[in-house]
């Protein structure tokens, strides 16, 4: 049994009377790939937003490395190594690929507040930024504006930016969303690579990818946990089959 790095206890979020997430308990073990699946509207994204503090809790507790982070703001959560990516590919569109990663590095290296220094001092981040781009196979595109990248490459850039924060836990919100058929395997390999030595919690609809990558799967439906376990256990669960109507199996 590995240590639990991120835990939700009885987490609930209501929106004006509608309960999007109801008393969810979730335990993510260090060094594993943990997937959240469930039909649309099951509360996966809401849970993500709660875990990364982009949304306030209605009730419940969130523990990260044993510390209650329920009252923290998203920036502090990110600074302490719990970093998320977004459902819609989220980059700085007009900045170059290299600048996108460099901006992420600036915070860690305390080169963010200095308004009196020349940008030349940012050159010290180049080596690390290029190494991260190399890791996701984007070094040859370092001067391209992010907005001009293909979708798969935007994903890769987003991961490189996320890695720049030296995260311990990465929350991936639908890494395969919008990725073309031919790119799925490449992005999956990328996720596998970044998961090494780190913990990954991801929301994903592509069950084949989920089955390939995940150590543990939690199924959400109507804001509640329906089942949890390995892919074999979860897919054998009759309730899960009903919730999915079998239609999403590939």
């Amino acid at each position: 049994m590995r240590d639990i790095i991120l835990e939700a206890r009885e987490v609930t979020r209501e929106f004006y009377g509608f309960t999007a997430v109801r008393a969810v308990n979730l335990q993510v073990r260090q060094g594993t790939v943990h997937s959240l699946i469930g039909p649309n509207g099951a509360g996966k994204s809401t849970l993500f937003n709660l875990l990364t503090r982009f949304l306030a809790l209605t009730s419940g507790r969130i523990l990260y490395k044993g510390v209650d982070i329920g009252a923290w703001n998203p920036a502090s959560v990110a600074q302490r190594g719990l970093v998320r990516s977004f459902q819609i590919s989220s980059l700085f569109p007009k900045l170059s690929v290299h600048e996108n990663v460099r901006v992420a590095l600036q915070k860690r290296r305390s080169l963010a507040h200095q308004f009196w220094r020349h940008e030349r001092c940012l050159a010290q981040l180049d080596e690390r930024a290029d190494a991260l781009l190399e890791e996701v196979g984007l070094l040859s595109h370092r001067g391209v504006r992010a907005v001009d990248l293909s979708y798969g490459r935007k994903r890769a850039l987003e991961l490189a930016t996320t890695l720049a924060l030296e995260p311990e836990v990465i929350l991936l919100d639908e890494p395969m969303a919008g990725v073309g058929h031919e790119d799925i395997e490449r992005v999956a390999a990328l996720v596998r690579r970044v998961a090494q030595g780190r913990t990954v919690l991801m929301v994903e609809h592509n069950l084949k990818v989920v089955a390939d990558l995940s150590d543990t799967i939690t199924v959400l439906a109507r804001g509640q946990v329906l089942a949890e376990g390995s892919y074999a256990e979860v897919s054998a669960n009759p309730e899960v089959r009903t919730a999915y109507m079998g239609s999403r199996h590939e």
Partner: protein
């Protein structure tokens, strides 16, 4: 292949900087030679002060993405503080300017902390409301001289040495102050902080998820912008020797927005060009009987329709295109 591209990029960008640098040097030479060419120097200095004010506004709006409708509060508080300190306390001009900037900075910190809690139109309205509060304070407060403002301010001797009543002394001192202020704007834009600001403007949610407390950066740029606007107001007092309600009136907030948009928002040269164009228009139309507001309005409409990125933005685009075609 890669080295080829990097070399090409290097020469291309140095070419562009070359052009901008040349244009800058020509402008600087004209500026320094102006007192000997028979140009009305007070016009140049007034335009320069407003150029610095517009650049400070542009730092917040063009580079920080925050549209303030009440920036005149900082220009005016700088102006009034400097005028009061020079006239009533009899301090030397450099002390007066520092005091003016400090007042504007402090006010910027307070107004900024209140305004950045909201975004877009609400942000703009809060800044406008706070600036109006200040305006009515200056209308009522005894130290501000109500309708008269603070007039006949003595310029004094800079560092106790240089008599600023000498036309060349005041000219070069104010030119130095304004160029210094513009250099600060440029440095902030090209600093690590400037890069973070750009990222926040591009995608705020992403910047937060990268661990940036965006409000502290917004407050930072707001305060810097306020300090520089205050410096512009203080310099204006040295030039015109008075601080009046016009320096805290919302009209000036509007004009500074016009200057920035006409010149080219988000560019370094744009607000300077815009300020000279508008002050030039005002001055040349003053005796013609044509309402300068009408001309300003027409110019603004023309800019919005034809030159979407302002005068300088338009030429910068042309230069860029000419460069890439080669």
């Amino acid at each position: 292949m890669t080295t080829g591209i990097i070399t090409a990029l290097g020469t291309a960008s140095s070419n562009r900087w070359g052009r901008a640098t040349w244009l800058g040097l020509i402008a600087l030479a004209l500026l320094l030679a102006a007192p000997f060419t028979g140009v009305y120097t007070e016009f140049v200095l007034h335009a320069l002060c407003l150029a610095l004010f517009a650049s400070a506004f542009n730092l917040l709006f063009g580079f920080g993405g925050l549209l303030s409708f009440g920036h005149v509060a900082f220009f005016g508080s700088g102006a009034y503080t400097t005028a009061y300190a020079l006239k009533v306390w009899g301090v030397t001009p450099e002390v007066g300017i520092v005091l003016g900037m400090l007042a504007a900075t402090a006010l910027g910190l307070v107004f900024g902390a209140l305004a950045i809690r909201r975004q877009g139109i609400y942000f703009a309205m809060i800044t406008l409301a706070l600036a109006q509060l200040l305006y009515f304070l200056f209308v009522q407060a005894p130290f501000a001289g109500a309708e008269d403002g603070i007039q006949d301010v003595t310029r004094g001797r800079l560092f106790g040495l240089f008599d600023l009543d000498h036309p060349l002394a005041i000219y070069y001192v104010v030119v130095a102050i304004c160029l210094g202020g513009l250099a600060v704007v440029q440095r902030v834009v090209q600093s690590p902080f400037g890069h973070v600001l750009e990222a926040i403007r591009e995608n705020e949610a992403r910047a937060i998820s990268l661990g940036y407390r965006v409000n502290s950066y917004k407050l930072g740029v707001f305060t810097l912008s306020a300090a520089l606007a205050g410096l512009a107001g203080s310099a204006k007092v040295l030039v015109l020797q008075l601080a009046t309600l016009a320096d805290v009136s919302w009209h000036l907030s509007g004009e500074v927005i016009l200057m920035t948009l006409i010149g080219g928002v988000g560019t370094l040269a744009g607000p300077v060009i815009g300020a000279f164009v508008l002050v030039g228009l005002d001055t040349s139309l003053a005796e013609s009987g044509i309402a300068s507001g009408m001309v300003q309005g027409a110019l603004f409409i023309a800019c919005v329709l034809v030159l979407r990125r302002g005068i300088w933005g338009f030429f910068a685009d042309r230069l860029e295109r000419a460069r890439t075609r080669h």
